[in-house]
Amino acid sequence: MSFDWSFFWQYLLEPSSVYLNGLLLTVVLSVVSQLFGTALGLAAALARLSTLRPLQMAARFYIWVMRGTPLLVQIVFIYTGLAAANILRFHDAHLGFLLIAGNVQAGILALSLNEGAYMAEIIRAGIASVDHGQAEAASSLGMTRGLLMRRIVLPQALRLIIPPLGNQFNIMLKNSTLVSIIGVPELLLITETINSATFRTFELYTVVGLYFLTLTTLWGLAQRGIEARFAAPSPESAGAVAVRPRRFALRNLINAGSQ
């Protein structure tokens, strides 16, 4: 076995700016897609729980298609397929000083749509787990369905949604590599590019694996902190101290999700 240690250490510890840009793109793609996906999931979950039959059916159909086809197929379909059929072409867009490439837009769209379907099921389960008496009490006080969902049910469902949401983001970090197929220069595509020039496949894929392992490990630590914040208030815990930041964080999350 020939393993070029100096090559390995160099790429691991002194990554080029191209490599770091790839890392940044991986993180941005994942975070943005997770946010959109969560907002989409919330909308789909509420649609599924709606009493309006067409809305319910639309949500069911969306979830069925997105969970029933490979993400890789969805990515190619959205970027290359739609363009080939002259339905939709993604053009580079300028957002102020920021240039968002067409394939990045398509990648975010595909990742978000896919994520939305999984988040819909998670959010629906979270809502269903809240004691029905909570909604009944809210209705008996004259709250409309929208108000009681927003003020009473969703904040309580959040505690059950947070852990699987963290898990989904872990998956998202790794699944974002799939957009390399449409040329988005994230970490994997950068690695492939360097590989085709150096043929140090073993070393390069070890390095990229370690980068992802670091990302998911850091996220795992963050997730633990977030879950501790959202834990159920125990009868012993001093409410005011333990719970205030929880509700603050909830507001942030909802604001972020709706942007």
Binding site: D131, G133, Q134, E136, A137, A138, S139, S140, L141, G142, M143, T144, R145, L147, R151, I152, P155, Q156, A232, P233, S234, P235, G239, A240, V243, R247
Partner: protein
Amino acid sequence: MMSSVAATSASAAIAAPKAGDDIVVEAVDVHKWFGTSKVLDGVSLSVRRGETVVIIGPSGSGKTTFVRCLNHLETIQQGVIRVNGHFIGYRLRNGKMVPDRPRNIARQRRDVGMVFQRFNLFAHMTALENIIEAPIRVRRIARDEAVATARALLARVGLGGRENAYPAQLSGGQQQRVAIARALAMRPAVMLFDEPTSALDPEMVGEVLAVIRELAQDGMTMIVVTHEMEFAREVADRVVVMDKGAIIDSGTPHHIFLDSRHPRLRAFLAKTRFQAAS
């Protein structure tokens, strides 16, 4: 199907109430089925302003279901329910009763306070937040005013110092008293109590009943479903006895507990603690 059935037998009750008769709650010939089993079989009940009506009866007699119909937590298939002269859950269209819009139903519920067997306090909110939520969001009362009212109500139910406690930090009896304060904060025309002490440990029953007793003395219009016979005898202006989905007898506590010779009522009372106590 539901609306047309409701229309036929309800027509007599649709006429507006006569002025000055001061009826707050009026149920006329209410029928309800769960699937094929009939749970309410033509229940009619009028409650005057300031009156305390206590509903008793064996389990499964339909008393909880009936009270839940009064703020449309349950649908009905026939009959009419009015609170403060407004139909509950349904509206008239071309002479027929049809299901009302959700927004209207929500509006009607503002005037009907409800206290549940299992308290149902909002678990993620403090006692104070539980009480001010609906006045602020539904009645659009200024926050300062809502907080002041909530504090007064908490003091009234004997929980002056616990405004920042979460439901999980309160005993069952305390939670139920907060729930009563929460319902009162909406200034309802009538308060419905659905077995408010059934989920409580025996030592906490008294503190909740004391609050309800005080409300009765203050002239609040109330309908109370309970198994507490002593309490019923003490606070009720009128006791209503339900069995098998129908009202089988009603009258003063004296009439119900001592005079009535209704065989099913006597059999029911014989099974309760009341018999031993009287």
